[in-house]
Every structure is written in structure tokens, then in C-alpha cells.
């Protein structure tokens, strides 16, 4: 397009000084550290089970046991040779302040991870790896292209040692000076790495009860709908015809969906078992999992929002689930957002502790203001549980009937603000305010159906507060 010269840039790029070291490959002779010999076996776990199942079916149906044995032998030999070859090319080298990861047989890959920009190292233990006492390291780098580097699989103790080593090279635990914009959080964060957990470890019983109560409304609804549909259709058309025709056409797909949602609920329960959260300087450390243990690190200065979800049956117990949104900048403008569960279920005190740890001084109980009365017919059931508030630290909105959710967006993390007014809203003098945080769709705070005048004033106020809050933080590129 236009050929005018670009405007002069600001004097110096603000933010962390990243020394632009040329990505120096280690010399050829350096001994690569190898991954565990069982790695290829574990990675082709699904393939192997599929092959075994195929062989089994073949043997069972055709009574040709010899053929199955041939298949198994061939798979074992080919797999063994392939994994031996693959292992020769896989490995990693720590060279200076960089981690080099090698892989691939036909297409060689060589990945360089600059450890200065190390964001987090997560230790993950899927169940198939746990069977053999192995673990996997997920390495996340700030300013990377979104995909994590992965080291899989290593012996568990070696993985832990390597994690410590990587973090030490990155200078994280010993001297967290590499981390910018922590000056405000620092006085608040008492370095209680040893003191341990923010909240007591979640008991399995409580989590089970919470999961059950959360899943219950959907289950009851589904069973009721399913049952009545079956009974009504059956009494009209006769049960046998219904059982064959409607079953295949409609109920079976519905049942599949139901089973999937149930499995998802169970999975969430397994994933959140033995949940521990601790604060280490500017990071939240999360460890969780009944079957697959995983460690996660959430940098507090990257938290873009906190959501407090309250399923309908938790209300009487005052339980809430806390989720934390974090954003990491990718190379292009695409920004990856993760929402991490910071507390699967907890009472008011625990929720308050976690909220205050995720965003300094963030309260956990909010008084939101409802939309005007004339908006009530637009959402007859939700109206009472909808609202918005400008609190001291964050923009808070509330929505949802089955799962009532408070979303708190710290002012300093608000990207842009939108006000929209649909045609019906215009007739009623209403408008919707939307404050966007960095990242994906759905990670924003939406205050629906406010009074139009109030909505615009709210948007203006949000902008002012966002500027004020951002000015307090040190400018950074993050």
C-alpha cells in the first residue's frame, strides 16, 4: 500500500531487556541427553492398543490364531526397531542459557528454547507414564509461538531435577529479577514458599459431593426429558416401534451426548482430585490430579481475569469455583488464553484467599447492580442474578442461571471497551457494555442491558480507570 515512511518509534522499547544472543547451536560432539527408552512405546500407546485389538478381533472371528501371532510379532519387531532408531535422534542438550531439543527421524527437528524467557516448567504425569514411573515436562516460553516445548518421557526424579535445573538457569527461584512488573505485588507477597498452601488440600469427599451436585441438574433434566419423551412416544405409537425407530434416530445420539457429558464430569473430578495451590513469589503453583498428576504455574502478573462460578446446587453451601484467565503473547497478534482452575470448590474463606492471591486486593464477594426493571422481560429468570459493578480494583459482571458466574476483570487488564445497542434495546433505552481482556472469545466481561446513559457513562469510567490502573504499573511489553 502506501509508501510513506513509518513514524519514528519511541526512544527505547520498554520492558524487559532481552539480550539478542544469536541462537548458537551446540557443537556436534556434545553428548545429547536421552529420553527414557520406553518413550516411543508410550507415545504409540493408542496405536499399539489398536493393533492388539485388531489382532484379537481377527483371531476371534476367523479362528486363525497363527495370523494374529504374525501380526503381533511383526508389530513388535517393527515397533522395536523403529523406536530404537527414533531414540538415536531424540534428545536434548542444555547449552549455555539455551535448551536444545532434537527429534524426528525423517524430518529432523531442532528446537531452541531460550531459558531467559522461560515462563514455566510444568511436570505432567499421564497415567500411562505413571505406570512406569515416568513424567513429562511442558516448557512454556514467553513470546514463544504458542506451542509448548515438550520433553517426554523422563524418569520422574530426573524430570524433577531437570525442572529445578532449568528454573535455576532461568534464574527464577533464586532471584526472580528477570520478572518485570512485580514491584507492586512484591510487598504483598510474603515469600512463604515453605509455609505452603493457600488453602488446605481439597478432600476427595468434598470434591466428589461438589461434582455430584454440579452435575445433578443436568442429569435430572436429561433423565426427565428422556423418560417423558420415551413414555409419551411409546404410549402413542407402541413401545416396540418407538424402541426401534426413535431409538436409532433420536434417542441414541442424545444418549451419546449424555454419556459424554457424564464422562466429562467424571474426568473433571479426576483431574481436580488432590488439588493443592500455593503461592511462590509472583507465581501460583497448582498441583492436581487423581490419576494424572500435573503441575501448573500461573504467573500472577499475567492474570487477565478471575471468574467465580456458582452452580445452582452449590448456592446453599456457599461454595464457588475459581478460575483464573491468563494470557501469553504469541508471535503474531494471536494471543493464547488459558483458563486455569485455581480452586475446584471452596467455601467463602478459601475463595477469598485464592482471589486475593490471584489479583492483589481482589475481594471475592461483590455487590452488583441489576439491570433496570424494564429489561426484566428480556431475561425473566436470569434477571435477578445478572448485574454489573465498578469495584475498586476490577470491573465485575454477573450472569447465568444454572451456573451463576461473577467475572472480575482488573482495570489494568482491560483492552478495549465496546458499547452496543440492538434495535429492541434502542426502543427500551438499554445498551450492553463489553470490556475485552486479551485473548479469546468469551474471555470478556459483558454487562448486558444497562440503561443506555449508564452504559455509556460506565464505558467512559472504565476507560478512565483502566488508564489510571495501567499507569500505576510499570510499562512493559510482556
Amino acid at each position: 500500500m502506501s509508501d510513506e515512511p513509518a513514524p519514528p518509534l519511541a526512544a527505547a522499547p520498554l520492558g524487559p531487556e532481552v539480550p539478542v544472543a544469536a541462537p548458537s547451536a551446540p557443537p556436534e560432539g556434545v553428548q545429547r541427553q536421552r529420553l527414557h527408552p520406553l518413550t516411543p512405546l508410550l507415545e504409540s500407546f493408542r496405536f499399539l492398543t489398536a493393533a492388539a485389538a485388531a489382532a484379537g478381533i481377527q483371531a476371534f472371528t476367523s479362528r486363525n490364531f497363527l495370523f494374529a501371532i504374525y501380526i503381533a510379532l511383526a508389530a513388535a519387531v517393527i515397533g522395536g526397531i523403529a523406536s530404537l532408531i527414533a531414540l538415536q535422534y531424540r534428545g536434548f542438550v542444555i547449552w549455555g542459557r539455551e535448551l536444545h531439543i532434537y527429534g524426528g527421524v525423517f524430518t529432523r527437528s531442532h528446537r531452541t528454547v531460550p531459558l531467559e524467557r522461560l515462563q514455566s516448567v510444568d511436570l505432567v504425569r499421564p497415567i500411562r507414564a505413571r505406570l512406569f514411573g515416568l513424567a513429562q515436562l511442558n516448557i512454556e516460553v514467553a513470546g514463544g509461538d504458542g506451542t509448548d516445548a515438550r520433553l517426554a518421557y523422563l524418569k520422574a526424579d530426573r524430570a524433577l531435577a531437570l525442572r529445578a535445573e532449568l528454573l535455576a538457569i532461568a534464574g527464577r527461584p533464586a532471584a526472580p529479577v528477570a520478572e518485570p512488573a512485580e514491584d507492586e505485588e512484591a510487598p504483598e507477597a510474603v515469600p512463604d514458599r515453605d509455609a505452603g498452601l493457600l488453602v488446605p488440600q481439597l478432600t476427595v469427599r468434598r470434591l466428589a459431593l461438589a461434582s455430584f451436585l454440579e452435575a445433578l441438574p443436568a442429569q435430572i433434566t436429561f433423565l426427565a426429558v428422556f423418560g417423558t419423551a420415551f413414555a409419551v412416544a411409546g404410549s402413542i405409537f407402541g413401545f416396540t416401534r418407538v424402541a426401534t425407530v426413535v431409538w436409532v434416530g433420536f434417542l441414541a445420539p442424545a444418549l451419546v451426548g449424555y454419556i459424554q457429558s457424564t464422562i466429562a464430569a467424571v474426568n473433571r473430578f479426576l483431574r481436580n482430585g488432590r488439588f493443592r495451590i500455593a503461592r511462590d513469589g509472583t507465581n501460583l503453583l497448582i498441583q492436581r490430579g487423581l490419576t494424572d498428576t500435573s503441575h501448573e504455574t500461573v504467573p500472577v502478573d499475567r492474570v487477565t481475569g478471575v471468574s467465580f462460578a456458582e452452580p445452582v446446587l452449590w448456592r446453599s453451601r456457599q461454595w464457588k469455583r475459581v478460575e483464573v484467565w491468563t494470557a501469553a503473547v504469541a508471535q503474531q497478534s494471536a494471543t493464547a488464553v488459558r483458563s486455569t482452575t485455581a480452586l475446584p470448590v471452596g467455601g467463602p474463606d478459601e475463595v477469598a484467599a485464592v482471589a486475593a492471591a490471584a489479583v492483589p486486593d481482589l475481594p471475592s464477594v461483590f455487590a452488583t447492580e441489576r439491570p433496570p426493571q424494564r429489561a426484566r422481560w428480556r431475561m425473566p429468570l436470569r434477571w435477578k442474578r445478572t448485574g454489573a459493578a465498578l469495584t475498586e480494583r476490577a470491573f465485575v459482571v454477573r450472569h447465568g442461571l444454572w451456573v451463576n458466574t461473577h467475572v472480575a476483570l482488573p482495570y489494568a487488564r482491560i483492552q478495549s471497551v465496546k458499547v452496543t445497542q440492538g434495535r429492541v434495546q434502542r426502543m427500551q433505552g438499554l445498551a450492553t457494555v463489553r470490556a475485552m481482556a486479551a485473548g479469546g472469545v468469551g474471555h470478556d466481561a459483558v454487562a448486558v442491558d444497562r440503561d443506555a446513559r449508564e452504559a455509556v457513562a460506565m464505558a467512559a469510567e472504565l476507560r478512565d480507570r483502566a488508564d489510571a490502573a495501567a499507569a500505576l504499573e510499570r510499562p512493559r511489553l510482556s
Binding site: M1, Q415, S416, K418, R426, A438, A452, V456, D467, P475
Partner: protein, 168 residues
């Protein structure tokens, strides 16, 4: 008078001086919508012509004229609602006839600034400025600017964005 008939952006507290778009934008957009509709009419005319002969083509033409008139009227009115304002710390963009939209983009959060121009826009010498932040789906467009105005706006935005960088 209540807020009901006033566009939502006119309720903004404080003075905002809205910059209008180039007057040529209306011509461009009306032309563009006419062209789009014309393509549709051609697509519709082929089966109609096969089915009804020349009468079918006539029908398609009549339908096109009617729809094009309505569309041109609506587009012309929509163009008038577009406007942008540069404030101290942020850029306001307003548009929309039925659904009113007001986007507020702080300079400090701007990540990308694009200039683009489609074929018809180029014919009339107009340029669109697109502003992106880190939030997905928060692209704000300022269409229909003279190239000089557009690149000046781009330069101002880029300068301000570099001065008050706020990150995520």
C-alpha cells in the same frame, strides 16, 4: 426527551468532536452493494431465464431494481452514522443504523494498525484503517479516509501506541 431516540454515542459524558468519513464513502459503499446485488441478480436470472424465458430475466431485473433501491437507501443512511474521534488516550469509533456500536480503543493497547483498500475504494482513492488489540475479535475499522488522512491517522496512532504501551 429520553435516551430512546438519541444514538447511544451521543450520551457520552463530555465533549467529543466526531470526525466524519470522506463524503465519497457513501458513493463507494452504495456502488459496492449495487455490484454485490447485481452478481446475485445474475445468478438468479439464469435459472429464471431458463424456466420462464425472457420474462424470467425481466423479473430478475425488476427484483434487482427494487432491492437495489432499498439497499442503496439503507447503505446511504448507514454511512452517515460512521464517525471516529481521537481523544487524549483513546480512539472512539461509532457506527450502525439499527444496531448502534461504539468501540473504544485505548492507544496503549493497540497492537497492529493496518491500512487496506479494496478495488472500488481504490478507484475513489479511499483507504480503510484497521486497529487491533490483543483481545480477539476487537478489530476496529475506520473506513473511507483519504489516503493522506489515513496515513496521518496511522502515524499518530502508531506514535501514541509506542509512547503509552500498556501490554496485556
Amino acid at each position: 426527551m429520553s435516551a430512546k431516540t438519541v444514538p447511544v454515542w451521543d450520551l457520552w459524558p463530555g465533549e467529543v468532536t466526531w470526525q466524519p468519513m470522506s463524503p465519497k464513502l457513501r458513493t463507494v459503499w452504495v456502488l459496492r452493494s449495487l455490484l454485490n446485488l447485481f452478481l446475485l441478480a445474475v445468478v438468479a436470472a439464469v435459472p429464471l431465464g431458463i424456466w420462464l424465458g425472457w420474462r424470467g430475466v425481466l423479473w430478475a431485473l425488476c427484483g434487482y431494481v427494487l432491492l437495489a433501491g432499498l439497499r442503496a437507501w439503507a447503505v446511504a443512511r448507514t454511512v452517515a452514522t460512521w464517525g471516529y474521534a481521537e481523544r487524549e488516550e483513546d480512539l472512539l469509533v461509532r457506527h450502525g443504523l439499527l444496531t448502534r456500536r461504539l468501540n473504544i480503543v485505548p492507544y496503549g493497547r493497540i497492537q497492529l494498525i493496518d491500512l487496506s483498500a479494496g478495488p472500488i475504494e481504490r478507484m475513489f482513492g479511499l483507504t480503510t484503517v484497521q486497529v487491533r488489540t490483543a483481545a480477539l475479535g476487537s478489530t476496529s475499522e475506520v473506513p473511507g479516509l483519504e489516503p493522506a488522512v489515513a496515513s496521518a491517522l496511522r502515524d499518530r496512532l502508531a506514535l501514541r501506541a509506542a509512547e503509552v504501551r500498556e501490554g496485556l
